[in-house]
């Protein structure tokens, strides 16, 4: 369709696609941190029980690494619409009303994340200037604290794209949706769950009553 091609080329669509690799990379970094946490845990058990030499400051290390797992994937998760919400009302709406609510939701999120970016940066800056370290092994804490404003900034940009995407659909409800999460009903959520565990080998089955 001519309409679709035009939409594909729009600035918003290009920003949406161009931003995806950054989010994917951040989530991949979080995934790598999970892998490292596993390796570190096994190492700690082996070193402590077999060689009686536990890793110095293991708990500090784990606590500092938590920030990467807790925050880096936030924008990726946002793009896929996987942060929990109540679907009761939004799953029943369509058209302008739906997109207006989505835009309001994204705007509220942008406000609170903006406040958090500013003040978590302050939290980092204090740790950096004071040279704050962990109590036990005295690792510096600022790199871990810096991850919060970084991850939240990526998240904020994704939220902004979603907000603009939703506002665009409030103005032109018939346009092709770009950079928004299309609300799903239960049957579609079920399909997502199936794909999550079975990957691409899940048969493309459509639930009853859906076309």
């Amino acid at each position: 369709m001519e309409h679709d091609i035009e939409a594909e080329r729009s600035l918003l669509a290009r920003l949406h696609r161009g931003f995806m690799p950054i989010e994917d990379f951040a989530n991949l970094a979080a995934a790598a941190a999970i892998m490292l946490l596993m390796v570190l845990g096994v190492l700690q058990i082996v070193l402590r029980t077999v060689f009686n030499t536990p890793i110095n400051g293991y708990i500090d290390l784990v606590e500092l690494s938590m920030a990467s797992m807790a925050f880096l994937g936030a924008a990726y998760t946002q793009r896929l619409g996987s942060h929990i919400r109540m679907e009761l009302l939004v799953s029943r709406l369509s058209g302008r009303a739906l997109w207006l609510l989505e835009a309001i939701g994204a705007a509220i999120a942008m406000f609170v994340i903006a406040v958090l970016i500013y003040h978590s940066y302050g939290h980092f800056l204090r740790a950096y200037t004071l040279g704050d370290t962990t109590i036990d092994a005295e690792y510096v804490t600022w790199p871990s604290k810096l991850l919060v404003p970084i991850a939240f900034s990526i998240w904020w940009i994704r939220l902004a794209l979603q907000c603009i995407g939703a506002l665009r659909l409030v103005l032109f409800p018939d346009a092709t949706p770009i950079a928004v999460v299309v609300a799903k009903d239960v049957a579609e959520q079920a399909q997502d769950e199936i794909h999550e565990v079975m990957g691409d080998d899940a048969e493309p089955a459509r639930p009853e009553g859906k076309s």
Binding site: A31, H83, L88, G105
Partner: protein
């Protein structure tokens, strides 16, 4: 100050913000943002912009970087890896050979295979998806009633959240400041108990309707024993996690890491493509960030809630009610059943616990017991209309079984769940016995007796 009430009436500010929170959640604002923004605005009203924003800015990092929470990514990773390592077929095969002779044997086997898989996975819907593929074809081949075949898979999936490792129980433990180890242990017996009640109700049903759930006989003991090596990795993971919690030779995080490592090695040995392993890591990262966002978002709100005095007032009101504590408990549980229809179990617990939990404790209920029963309640909502996500999952994998039939098949197991809940209410020892069991005293007593 925003509306000008400030510290003169923190309770009123609390009530207003609580209504705002409910409104935002109702219009579909994601829970993390709704909780964080309402908590922020409430704190601003009570403390002024500067101090409030300053407090809120530190919460995400300080609340996320705690050692106790680090067990979550490990448990989540074990779960996603286990699906890709493909242990479900062996589990079902083993359960079929050991339990197939019972009336409704294949359905009973499905229940216990799912319970076994729950020992490496904490995800209900995902478990239902996988077993829809493994168990339903086998049951249909043996002439099982389609409703039974679909119902048992959808229902047995819910066992995953009680049997350790369960992410939701870890979250509960951290929010209400109870021992993670105790909660994980506490889920074990109720999980097994639920499975036994499911199995019992299948056997009774199969005896009443012979032919619609026939038994499968003729396996030799040799065949049965040969299924054991295939399921040994799962047994190993269970032993690692349970013994670490009981014996204290590793923290839950370390035990989770070792468990994940076992499943990881198994996945590599089985030739799981690296792409699948990367996918399970990406999915784990996604689920981890989702849960952590909820935790810090809700904790921002909780920080404000503490200032407002709402939890204390709610507790006073509940304790002052002229009702039996058990009646109040049943009302709370019914409330959870209704809420669970519209919201994910983790979100529902996180949002309600800061207010509900102090009241429950003031009524004299055991904190560990309440965690288990609240989670069980939330799980029931996965198989009941109007949402019943597990039923949709089964229907999604097997579009040839209409949704109506899945829901009708689940009805039997809904009765089983009501029996389980009633039993947990009447005999709280099912929950509290294992976590309070003094293993060391028992062990040394055993030694003394042996000598």
């Amino acid at each position: 100050m925003i509306i000008g009430i400030g510290m003169s009436d923190p309770f009123l500010v609390g009530v207003i913000t609580l209504c705002m929170l409910l409104g935002l959640i109702f219009i579909g604002v994601r829970v993390v943002f709704a909780a964080a923004v309402v908590g922020l605005l409430g704190l601003v009203e009570l403390r002024g912009w500067g101090p409030a924003a300053g407090i809120v800015g530190t919460i995400p990092h300080s609340k996320s970087s705690t050692y106790a929470l680090s067990v979550l990514p490990m448990f989540i990773f074990i779960g996603f890896l286990a699906f890709h390592a493909g242990m479900t077929q062996q589990l079902f095969d083993a359960a079929r050979k050991w339990l197939g002779w019972l009336p409704g044997g294949l359905a009973v086997a499905t229940v216990f295979a799912t319970a076994g898989f729950a020992a490496v996975s904490g995800a209900s819907t995902a478990t239902a998806a996988v077993f829809s593929r493994v168990a339903i074809p086998e049951m249909l081949k043996h002439g099982y009633d389609r409703r039974m075949a679909a119902g048992v898979v959808a229902s047995a999936g819910t066992l995953a959240t009680l049997i350790p490792p369960s992410a939701i129980l870890v979250i509960y433990a951290i929010i209400v400041e109870q021992s993670v180890g105790k909660l994980l242990l506490a889920g074990f017996l109720p999980g097994i108990f639920s499975a036994v009640v499911y199995a019992g109700i299948i056997v009774v049903w199969a005896m009443m309707k012979p032919g619609s759930a026939p038994s499968v006989k003729g396996f030799t003991w040799g065949e049965r024993v040969r299924t054991l090596p295939g399921i040994s990795p799962i047994i190993l993971v269970v032993v690692i996690i349970m013994s670490a919690i009981y014996g204290g030779w590793a923290t839950p995080t370390e035990a989770g890491a070792l468990g994940a490592f076992v499943v990881f090695v198994l996945a590599l040995v089985r030739g799981t493509p690296l792409k699948s392993i990367k996918n399970s890591l990406m999915e784990s990262a996604k689920l981890t960030v989702m849960i952590f966002s909820l935790i810090w978002g809700v904790l921002i709100f909780v920080r404000f809630l503490g200032f407002s005095g709402i939890p204390g007032a709610f507790t006073e009101w509940i304790v002052g009610l002229d009702m039996q504590p058990m009646t109040i408990m049943i009302c709370i549980l019914l409330g959870y059943a209704v809420l669970g229809m519209f919201m994910d179990a983790i979100g529902m617990l996180l949002l309600t616990l800061p207010v509900v939990y102090p009241a429950v404790i003031a009524l004299g209920f055991d904190p560990i017991w309440f965690g288990i029963i609240a989670v069980k309640m939330a799980e029931i909502c996965l198989i009941t209309p109007p949402i019943g996500l597990n039923c949709f999952v089964v229907n999604g994998v097997r579009p040839d079984i209409p949704l109506g039939q899945v829901f009708r098949g689940v009805a039997l197991f809904f009765i089983a769940d009501v029996i389980t809940i009633a039993a947990l209410l009447m005999f709280p020892e099912i929950v509290t016995w294992l976590p309070n069991f003094d293993f060391e005293a028992w062990w040394s007593g055993l030694w003394a007796a042996a000598l």
